[in-house]
Symmetry: D2
Subunit: 93 residues, 4 copies
């Protein structure tokens, strides 16, 4: 079970909304919207994606890393490294 | 004409691809993919959106700000402020 | 003259404060401060640095790029590319 | 003991280097360096700070959160929330 299991429908709804934002961006470009207005919408979509990411990191530590510590301590270091690398990729994106 | 006018179809294609990435994220969540794999895809979509943003900022300065400087110098300060605020929003998202 | 010429002492004062924040971080580590408190301070210093960057980008477009457009139009494309690449580096850092 | 205990001298050395980078930035401004060169250095200092942050997050999860899970499970949820909020602040800075 992934860490986000209990909030699956919430994440799906958020990603559905982000998909709508990205489609809205295509409409804006198609209709020659002013660059700055398009940029404002790109920032909003990016912020929404980053917020999904923070939620997934939270659930991953709260559930997956915690379970590993109880059930399979030997795997914990590998899991923390993996989580940290994911956080690092988020910071660079 | 917006600054991105000449590359409209390129931006539309990139946003179409990002829309596909966001739909792929929904599929991953739906299929209980491992948190870290989902996060890797969120980073990829964020990076793609940020890259669209950098392109739009570039075209905005290259065309809109430049035109303002030649045609309506009085509006330049307002336009630069507006562009900087857009860059600031990107940095915070 | 660099674009930030008129606000040199303001930038120097802000960087002096950031230097103080980074020294404060060393004191916190030295005194075994709680990880989360150190991270809060790292975020504050990063935010202050990013804010200096946004200011420099603003002045660069407002003065240097504008001057290039009036005085040496042939150099404008190169200057915009250079500015956009700097913004891209900020977004990835 | 903070999570970074075992690597204290490493973090102190990295922060010392970042302090030097911020002092270097003041020198650059003082000597009227070209805006883009200053921005490149601001990006380098930001990247170095963010890398310190990623290291601290890693050690915090690896040691503090793990110890909480073994020794004081009731505090784990609070600690994960605290860590996630710190990661969120980093992403927004």
């Amino acid at each position: 079970m992934p860490g986000y299991e209990m909030h699956k429908s919430d994440y799906l709804a958020r990603l559905k909304r982000i998909e709508g934002q990205v489609r809205g961006l295509q409409r804006m470009i198609d209709e020659d919207s002013y660059c700055i207005d398009v940029l404002t919408q790109v920032s909003a979509a990016t912020k929404a994606l980053q917020s999904v990411a923070v939620g997934l990191v939270d659930e991953h530590i709260r559930h997956c890393v915690r379970d590993a510590i109880s059930d399979d301590p030997a795997s914990t270091d590998r899991m923390v490294t993996e989580a940290t690398k994911a956080i690092e990729r988020l910071l660079k994106s």
